[in-house]
Amino acid sequence: MNFKLIFNVARSMLLARWRQTLVAAVGVTFSIAMFITLLSFMNGLNDMLDGLILNRTPHVRLYNEIKPSENQPVNVSAEFRDSYNFISSVKAGVTRQEIYNSGPILQAVKADERVIGAAPKLTAQVFFNEGTIDITGVINGIDVEEESRLFNFRDYVTAGNAIDAKNVANSIILGKGLADILVADVGDVVQVTTAQGERFSLKVVGYFQSGIQEIDKVQSYASLATTQKLLGKPANYMTDIQVKLTDLSMAPAVAREYAQLFEVDAEDIQTANAQFETGSNIRSLISYAVGITLLTVAGFGIFNILNMMIYEKMDSIAIMKATGFSGKDVNIIFLLIALSIGFFGGMVGLLFGLVFSVIIDNIPFNTAALPTIETYPINYSPVFYFIAGSFSLITTYLAGFFPARKASRVDPVEIIRGK
């Protein structure tokens, strides 16, 4: 087959009706651009919302749950093994919140290849004393450097310097909401009473703003050592080990493995935050649905224009068939016309999509809830461009398929005799 000739004929027919061609191509361009913009924006939002929680959440959390023993003595006893034992008012026994053997566990976890890093954590329930009023709060004792590296802690410290929590003795980083209630500026000292009744003075070295108001009203951060001092515990005392993995999807398996290996409770991120996954999926689904609808409409536009073109070019098709072009050649000519509309319209559409995304990316978006966000979020994943590009070709191929088949079946005798 003489492909160059077929290509030339297709090009001439396309250019002879360049206005119609342009309208069809603009339809594709518009829908592809919208598709890209919508997906980039939606996924940017998804990433931002997920990041709000997920980036700061450990992939696997090791801790000791306070709960009654599963093996009550009466069940273990050989004497009563074969009987039904009813025990009422079961209470948790002498369990400690502390993770046993925390040092070796931390070392073992950090040595694991699947793990990016692990950070110890210690939570202490306290009262903040504001005059005569006691405000309940939580102080999280953290390893500031590891916490910043693994869970972007530094990004959420909006005033003061995160590392001061470690460098300044007896210091605290207050949640923004909590600081507002306490009317505590950076540099002020706040009074804290622990659950054990000990009173401490802590110096405020910064504000922390997570973007979730409820958290900011209760949470505050201090170094691990400061918190251990508050609780009167030794330097190896920690209640949580937070693990970040190289691959988030491995979390459930790793959690199960650690629970067995270290005899602790382990919670994975998927179980802890199932609702985020669902929300993201549904938002993506909606944007794909809208994008595909746009493309389908553009496809019908192409279908119409090709159909009209075929009626117009009936004579040309007839003489080409009479002078030796086969039905297959004619079919390829019209498919080529459709595909080039899809290809060039799609290419320009990808470009416009990128331009729109950049424009949105530069629109200021300031909200008190999101301290790290300054403009609307955009996800520039090349996957969207690839999908949009393939869709534009597939849709235009489908739109061209039936008109091209019709053209290939034109009976030249009918056309020529009809004159």
């Binding site: 000739l5 080409m320 002078t323 030796g324």
Partner: protein
């Protein structure tokens, strides 16, 4: 001795829509190389129908058709397209030039499809044909910008480009005035006399037919004189 170019054996054809009508009955004849044959007959006698069967474009018939001593009946669409491309040149009542192309490109198109010569050679051959028909000055013009008589001559040049075994015409002078008709006839005459070209022309122009070499007359789907 001249070889046979076209041979029809016992060709029958019916139209089935809306009722079955026998259009052609037992058509048997042959055309030898270099002959200038006119097919005449009244309107509706089946002469055009016969031409389209002979041209291989209409495949819905009974009987056998030989072109260049090869059987054409029951061949595939692609094979027949190739035969038309290589061995048959067409001139219709309407010129059927492609408006998107120049005169030269229109003439070159069937040769490019056949792909026997390189593109520059084809262009040279197309210009030769145009020169022979006295319209080489139009080569660069778009096809829709030339006059009706010129268009028909371009169509003849296009029919000649692949050196076909036979040129078939369906009322090639039907749309032309007296003067242009004569020009076209003279071209046909010259083709047979000088270039030994075989022609099979359907016409209802009695004077045109009488000047040609051989007349096949049809009536009610049968050949009554040949």
């Amino acid at each position: 001795m001249h070889e046979t170019i076209l041979e029809a054996r016992h060709i029958n054809k019916c139209f089935h829509d809306p009722v079955t009508v026998q259009v052609l009955t037992d058509i048997t004849f042959s055309v030898k190389k270099g002959e200038f044959v006119s097919v005449i007959g009244k309107s509706g006698c089946g002469k055009s129908t016969l031409l389209y069967i002979l041209s291989t474009m209409d495949t819905d018939y009974e009987g056998e058709l030989y072109i260049d001593q090869e059987l054409m009946t029951n061949r595939s669409d692609i094979e027949l397209a190739h035969v038309r491309n290589e061995k048959i040149g067409f001139v219709f009542q309407f010129h059927y030039l492609l408006n998107e192309f120049t005169v030269l490109q229109n003439v070159m198109l069937p040769a490019l499809k056949l792909n026997r010569y390189s593109a520059p050679e084809i262009e040279h051959r197309a210009l030769e044909r145009l020169k022979m028909l006295g319209i080489d000055h139009l080569a660069g013009k778009m096809a829709y910008k030339i006059s009706g008589g010129e268009k028909q001559r371009v169509a003849i040049a296009r029919a000649l480009i692949n050196d076909p075994q036979i040129i078939m015409g369906d009322e090639p002078t039907g749309n032309l005035d007296m003067r242009n008709s004569e020009v076209v006839f003279d071209i046909f005459k010259e083709l047979t006399d000088v270039h030994d070209q075989t022609l099979l022309i359907v016409t209802h122009d009695q004077s045109f037919a009488e000047k040609s070499g051989r007349i096949i007359e049809m009536e009610d789907g049968r050949i009554i004189r040949h």
